[in-house]
Symmetry: C2
C-alpha cells in the first residue's frame, strides 16, 4: 500500500471530522463531505481541540457532493446511523475497484448494508470509544478517550493489517478486533444498558447509574441479556460465542466506574432534542435476540420506551 | 348505623375533595383537612364540576389541623401515597373507639400501615377509578369515570356492608371487593403498565401505548409480571390466587381501548413536575415480587427508571 492514501470522509460530524482530521494531520489526502458546516470550514478551516494535541486544517478539501471527491483508497463513513438509508448514494461516487470502506458508525448490522451494496471483502467496521462534541461550525472538541477498534467484515487478518497501516502514522489509538461481530456486540454490552438508561432515566450521566442500586441492577440485567443475544448471534454466524459473561460485566462496570459524569452520545442527542440512534443500537439487537429466541424482556421494554421518546425527532 | 355520619377527609386534594363533597352533598357532616387551599375554600367554598352533576359546598367545615375536626365516624384518608409518613399524625386526632378508616389512596400496602397504627378491623381500602383535576384553589373538575371499589382489610362482609351504607345515598358509583388485596393487585395490573409506560415513554397518553405495537407488547409483558406477583402475594396471604391471566388482560386492554387519550394521575404528576407515587404503585409490588421469587424483570427496570425520573421532586 502506498504511503499517502486518498480518503473520503462521508459524514463530517464530530466523529468524522476528528478522525478524518487526524488522518489528514498524518499526511493523507483527506476529502470531507460536509453538509451543515461547509461555509464555515471553507472560510476558517477545521479546528480541533484535543487532550492528544490540538490541530487545525487550514484549507481542508471539502465537498457538498460526493462526486466532487471522486474515487478514493478509503471511504470512512461516519454518518449517524439514522442516515443509513442515504449512505449508499453518498458513498457510491467514491468507490472504485480497490476502494476499502470503513464503517465508523454506532450500532449493529450497518456493515451488512455496505457489504450488500459494495461487496463483503472491502468492508471494515470501526468502533470509536470517545467523547467528541461539535462546537460552533468548523470547531470540534475532542474531550476524552478516543480509541478506535477496527475489524474486517470477513475477519481477514491481512485486510485488518491494511487498515492498521492506514492509521499507523496518526495520533489515534487503534486496536484490532479478531471478530468484528463480537466487537460490535461487546460495545452493545455497554451501550445498551448505559446509553439506554441514561436516556430513559431522564437524561442522566453514567455516574448516576453507578451510584443507584436499582439502576445499577437494571444495567446489569440488561447487559446479561445483551451478552446472551450476542453469543447466540455469534454462534448463528458460525463464530465462537466468545463473550464471557463475568469477564465483560466486571470489566465494563470497572471501566464505567472511572468515567465520572459521562454523557453517552445517545443521551446528548436526547437532551439536545436530536434524533437518537435507536434502530442500530437497540432495535436491531432486539430483533436478533427475538429471532434467536433469547430472553430480551428488558431490552424490549427499554427499546419501546426509547422509540417513544424518539418520536417526532 | 345512624344515617348522618361525621366524616373527616384527610388530604383534600382532587380525590378527597370530590368524594368528600359527594358525601356532604348526600347530607353527611363532612370535615375537610385542608392545607394548600384553606383560604380559598373558606372564602368561596368548594366548587365541583362533574358529568354526574356539578355541585357546590358553600361553607364546608374546613380545618388546617386534625384536632379541630375531632373524632369522627369515618376517616376518609385521601392523602397522596408520597405523604404516607405523615398519615398517622394527621389521622390520629380523628380516631375514636368506633371510628372506621377508608384508605382512599393509590398503591399497595398502605392499609398495612393503618392497620398497624389503628388496628385491622376498622381499616378499609378504596380504589378510585376516575379522572379528577384540581383547577384554581377551591375548584375541582371531575372529568370522567368515578367508580370506587371498596374492600375491608380483613374482607369481613358485614364491615363491607357498613361501608356501602355510608355511600349509598351519594352520587357515587360504588362496587364492593370480596378481597381488598386482590382488588389492589388488579388495579396495579392496569396502573403499572399503563401509568408506568405513560411516564417513562415521555409523558404520553394511554392511546399512544394502545396504538404502538412495541409499547403495547411491553404493557402486556408488564401486566403478566404483575398478575404473577399478585397471585403469588394472594397465596402468601392465604387467599385464593384468583387473578385470571387471560380474563384480566383482555378486560384491561379492552377497557383502555375505549379511554382515548387518557392521562393517568402519575403521568399528570410527571408532566407537571410533581412527586410521583412510585413507592406505593411500583416499588412495593416489586419488593413483594422479589420476595416471592416471581420474575419481575420488566417491573424492576421500569421502577428504576421511574425512581430516576422522580428524583429531586
Amino acid at each position: 500500500m502506498k504511503k499517502t492514501q486518498r480518503i473520503a470522509v462521508i459524514g463530517a460530524g464530530a466523529v468524522g471530522s476528528y478522525y478524518g482530521g487526524r488522518l489528514a494531520e498524518a499526511g493523507h489526502d483527506v476529502r470531507f463531505l460536509v453538509r451543515r458546516d461547509y461555509r464555515a470550514i471553507s472560510k476558517s478551516g477545521l479546528n480541533v481541540t484535543s487532550p492528544d494535541g490540538d490541530f487545525q486544517l487550514e484549507r481542508p478539501f471539502t465537498a457538498t457532493d460526493s462526486t466532487e471527491i471522486g474515487t478514493v483508497d478509503w471511504v470512512v463513513c461516519a454518518l449517524k446511523s439514522t442516515s443509513i438509508k442515504d449512505a449508499q448514494k453518498l458513498v457510491r461516487p467514491c468507490v472504485g475497484a480497490h476502494t476499502r470502506i470503513l464503517v465508523l458508525m454506532n450500532g449493529l448490522g450497518l456493515e451488512d448494508h455496505f457489504a450488500g451494496w459494495f461487496g463483503e471483502e472491502r468492508i471494515f467496521g470501526g468502533l470509536a470509544f470517545t467523547c467528541i462534541n461539535r462546537g460552533s461550525p468548523g470547531n470540534i472538541h475532542h474531550l476524552a478517550y478516543g480509541t478506535v477498534t477496527l475489524g474486517h467484515y470477513k475477519n481477514d487478518p491481512a485486510e485488518i493489517e491494511s487498515a492498521l497501516t492506514l492509521w499507523s502514522g496518526s495520533k489515534t489509538s487503534i486496536v484490532s478486533a479478531s471478530s468484528l461481530l463480537r466487537a460490535r456486540w461487546e460495545k452493545l454490552c455497554w451501550n445498551i444498558p448505559f446509553s439506554g438508561l441514561c436516556v430513559a432515566g431522564g437524561g442522566i450521566t453514567t455516574d448516576r447509574i453507578m451510584s443507584d442500586a436499582n439502576l445499577r441492577a437494571a444495567a446489569k440485567a440488561l447487559m446479561e441479556e445483551v451478552i446472551c443475544a450476542g453469543n447466540a448471534d455469534l454462534a448463528y454466524h458460525g463464530e465462537k460465542p466468545g463473550i464471557d459473561r463475568d469477564t465483560i460485566i466486571n470489566s465494563l462496570f470497572q471501566k464505567t466506574s472511572t468515567m465520572g459524569a459521562y454523557r453517552p452520545s445517545t443521551m446528548i442527542d436526547f437532551v439536545e432534542g436530536n434524533a437518537m440512534e435507536i434502530d442500530a443500537i437497540f432495535a436491531e439487537p432486539l430483533r436478533r435476540a427475538r429471532e434467536l429466541k433469547v430472553n430480551a424482556q428488558g431490552l424490549a421494554l427499554l427499546t419501546a420506551l426509547l422509540k417513544s421518546l424518539n418520536q417526532g425527532r
